[in-house]
Symmetry: C2
Subunit: 528 residues, 2 copies
């Protein structure tokens, strides 16, 4: 649901960064105002200035090239096992398949971790190394939707303008890159005998449900996890042109519903009634729109809930430098982004660094869905007894879901909307890693080795529950890799296996070599 | 769709009447205020004071009693012929069946009337009488919904606490009473040789679609129709206890949609986008709720569109007297009405005559349906590209749909919502007949004869396109009769055929005798 990969189809978008300085005076005024943007440095971070990773692991690379057909079959074996968490389809089979593959690789400690939902999978590989890396994996996938041109769970290989693709549910989100990562481990083990770092795998089967029980996996292994250098999530980071984006964090999210119902105050309580009764009976749907309208300015772009912007911290110099760097990479690309999104104009006509700043550093309130009464064809002249809005609010440091929700509740109460129900659905705070973390530096170095210098952003505008790693375990996290895929929650999801010769996109072999290098680079890097 | 019979399940509700005096000052103020209620007379109309119809037509009554089994079979024959206008199911068959039945009765002039939709049926019976009555008939029915306990088109006869019922689609809405009316004509013709008045039948097959082409039938016969005394629509007027309500008019209606879409101003234009983009892209759903919120006060009960109340005329003395009378009949029945509707409290705690006044004499704006984005289970964090609200506004004299819609458009424009689309779906003005009309007086006299003195209201809060008769043809209209049925747009629609012995509800025979008497009473009444 709330997904890091949601931003993947917006590959160009991931390059967007920004910075937003909030003046203390405007934040504490009675009437909230749009946060002001203020930069205190014009320095720009440039990933190209970091040294490229210099290590060479030719035997392992050769092994990968020689075993590529078997490696591809491993990916196909994974996507052929449905594991649809929303439908409880194949979940346990996939958990066991993952556990068995880890055992086969040589992980001595492998266990299914019971949770209140589907089990997690824990595994530990002891290389006797100084450094330990946590690998986050998800073994569930989205349900199959209509519109597929191949069976979603067949592991089809198709030829397209981008090259030879694996087209299947899970191809890119996330079985393809995950199994490619395990292929890389196999290649190292078969050529070097052991891994350069110890590995802790902490997997879940409910990522597509919003990771509701993943914290129970963390709970069980917290002390051991804290000893690691960082957390890695295998993720193809290239857009179709080969450009790489490396966001170092995510926004948090608050998902909630507002609902107006008939009750003691008035309105029909049991069911819809004939709309001729509006003259003497209150209408919950009119009530809901009134409550919703108080949340924002008429353009919908400034939040009028008192204090909603107060918790937002000022940006640090690192974040400013990252945004300045990203703004240079983004220069002149507004039009392409607008065309990708089908948007004629960005809010308030924003462009350049202002656009990036607003995107990455502003909290939002947005309606995901709105429903009441009759929405079919023709007319049904009714007065509905209930009206509901599902909303999300994207959170930036240091906002937290519960504090923001409490502000909304207080605001509604203060404006006479105590009768409007506020229902929390889900939420977690933002997460962020420093570009100075050795794991991040190692990843950038490996990208540079392959001529794929990333555009580094302090965060994505999207959300994922990475706070469990960055805020709770205090570990840096990197979700990255070479390779390209798309269609995460859409028909014809794909991962490029063998790109066209003139492409800058990495194929499966190069994806695996990136993972090989990353483990060695981390082993050589300084401590965190 | 917008149906006079919608108010039938609210039998107690139909007894509610009211009167609302609008001060000219408040109407013309910049900020609209709730219309004030002011009565200039406390006189109350009492239908019991009108003389009961004294005529006796014993031979015809005896004929009805003797032929009741065949008469019931005629009703069953009609309901067994499906005529679902929404599904184009059996429409032409039913039009021909109606035309053929009219020919069989002795109507010399019978014709299907082509329209832009389904044909109307025109028929004329020349009795050589001084007076002519127009009979409005609808030959279509609602679609069959789930939940029926008998086949909807079988003409089932079932025994229930109310007595023996005809349970079928169309039993009450409107084939049952309509064919009972034709049975009454047959009884007169077979006993008296001719009818006491000339009859013009002007039927349509699109009532359940909102009568979109009925005006084309009126167009064709306008001059002849204008020569009539009034218009009659056979309708069982008793509630389950036998009480009779006689509303003399209907509110008008304006059905329309407000829609916000992404466009030049901003927002996604092609499809939903990921909600993380809210930070830089306008949200049509937030825009829609802002526009909707400007239409009313926060409680949803006072319309803030400038001028929206201006066209409403002051009530005349007749209307005041009718409401005063209805208020006496309504005394102490608020609780029963609230329970019927499932409403804990009427708007602003209204009760008694104030409640009736507000109900019948206030214009409304109401949301019938509201939809945007994702409303399924789970979460989908999207920014929808379109948000739509379907609304209706009930109109009272002298409001007209187009003028009211123009006020809404102007209001939105003036408040910066020119981007919000206003789409008219349907509409027609209110309709009303005077209690002094000979046709109305005749109907009340016949009700009185049977000890079923009606509670007379100046109108229903519901809507029907009766303006075609009352405003365009300047003819009074009566929709009335003895008898009881319910479930017009619901499963197990029924008409009472043979009530339990202790019931005040009329059965089929008495329904038909009412129609017989009404025709003779009209023939004897003064001219309009």
């Amino acid at each position: 649901m709330v997904r890091p990969v949601c931003a993947r189809p917006l590959a160009v978008a991931v390059a967007l960064l920004g910075w937003l300085t909030l003046s203390a005076t405007s934040l504490r005024a009675q009437e909230p105002r749009p946060p002001e943007v203020r930069f205190t440095t014009e320095e720009a971070f440039d990933a190209a200035k970091l040294p490229a990773y210099a290590g060479r692991h030719d035997a392992t690379y050769a092994y990968i090239d020689a075993h590529l057909p078997e490696h591809l079959e491993q990916l196909r074996r994974w996507v052929r096992q449905p594991s649809v968490s929303a439908q409880n389809r194949g979940i346990l089979e996939m958990a066991n398949l993952l556990a068995e593959d880890l055992r086969t690789l040589g992980f001595k400690e492998v266990a299914l971790v019971p949770t209140s939902g589907y089990p997690g999978v824990w595994a530990y590989y002891d290389a006797g190394a100084k450094k330990t890396l946590v690998v986050y994996l998800m073994y569930d996938v989205q349900p199959e939707e209509t519109g597929w041109s191949v069976p979603a769970f067949d592991g089809a290989l198709v030829d397209k303008p981008l090259g030879k693709l694996l087209m299947a549910r899970g191809a890119v989100n996330q079985k393809g890159p995950e199994r490619a990562f395990l292929n890389a481990l196999q290649a190292i083990l078969d050529t070097e005998g052991k891994l350069p770092v110890n590995l802790m795998v902490a997997a879940e089967g409910e990522e597509e449900l919003g990771s509701p029980h993943y914290r129970e996996v963390i709970d069980k292994y917290e002390a051991r996890l804290r000893s690691a250098e960082g957390v890695f999530f295998p993720m193809p980071s290239q857009d179709p042109s080969g450009n790489v984006s490396l966001p170092l964090g995510v926004k948090g999210i608050l998902s909630f519903e507002l609902e107006a119902r008939g009750g003691e105050r008035g309105g029909p309580t049991r069911a819809e009634i004939h709309s001729s009764l509006k003259a003497i009976v209150d209408a919950p749907a009119l009530r809901l729109v009134q409550a919703l309208a108080t949340l924002t300015t008429p353009d919908g772009n400034t939040i009028r809930v008192p204090g909603y912007y107060d918790a937002i911290r000022s940006p640090n110099l690192e974040e400013q430098r990252l945004v300045n760097g990203a703004a240079r990479a983004f220069a002149g690309r507004e039009e392409a982004l607008r065309q990708t999104l089908g948007v004629a104009r960005f809010s308030e006509g924003l462009a350049g660094r202002d656009l990036l700043s607003r995107w990455l550093f502003t909290t939002t309130i947005n309606i995901n869905g709105l429903w009441s009464g009759y929405s079919g064809s023709g007319m049904k002249t009714i007065l509905p007894h209930v009206a509901t809005a599902r909303l999300d609010s994207r959170l930036v440091p240091n906002q937290t879901p519960d504090a923001q929700l409490e502000l909304i509740r207080k605001h509604l109460d203060a404006n006479g909307f105590a009768d409007v129900i506020v229902r929390k659905l889900a939420g977690y705070p933002p997460a962020q890693s420093s570009v100075e973390a050795p794991l991040v530096q190692a990843a950038i170095g490996v990208f540079n080795k392959y001529g794929a210098t990333p555009s580094v952003a302090p965060r994505l505008a999207g959300s994922a529950p990475y706070y469990l790693f960055t805020e709770r375990l205090k570990l840096p996290m990197v979700a990255a890799g070479l390779g390209h895929g798309s269609g995460a929650h859409a028909p014809d999801e794909y991962l490029v296996i063998e790109p066209k010769p003139d492409s800058k996109v990495a194929g499966l072999a190069q994806m695996e070599k990136f993972y090989v290098d990353l483990l060695f680079a981390l082993a050589q890097a300084g401590g965190r």
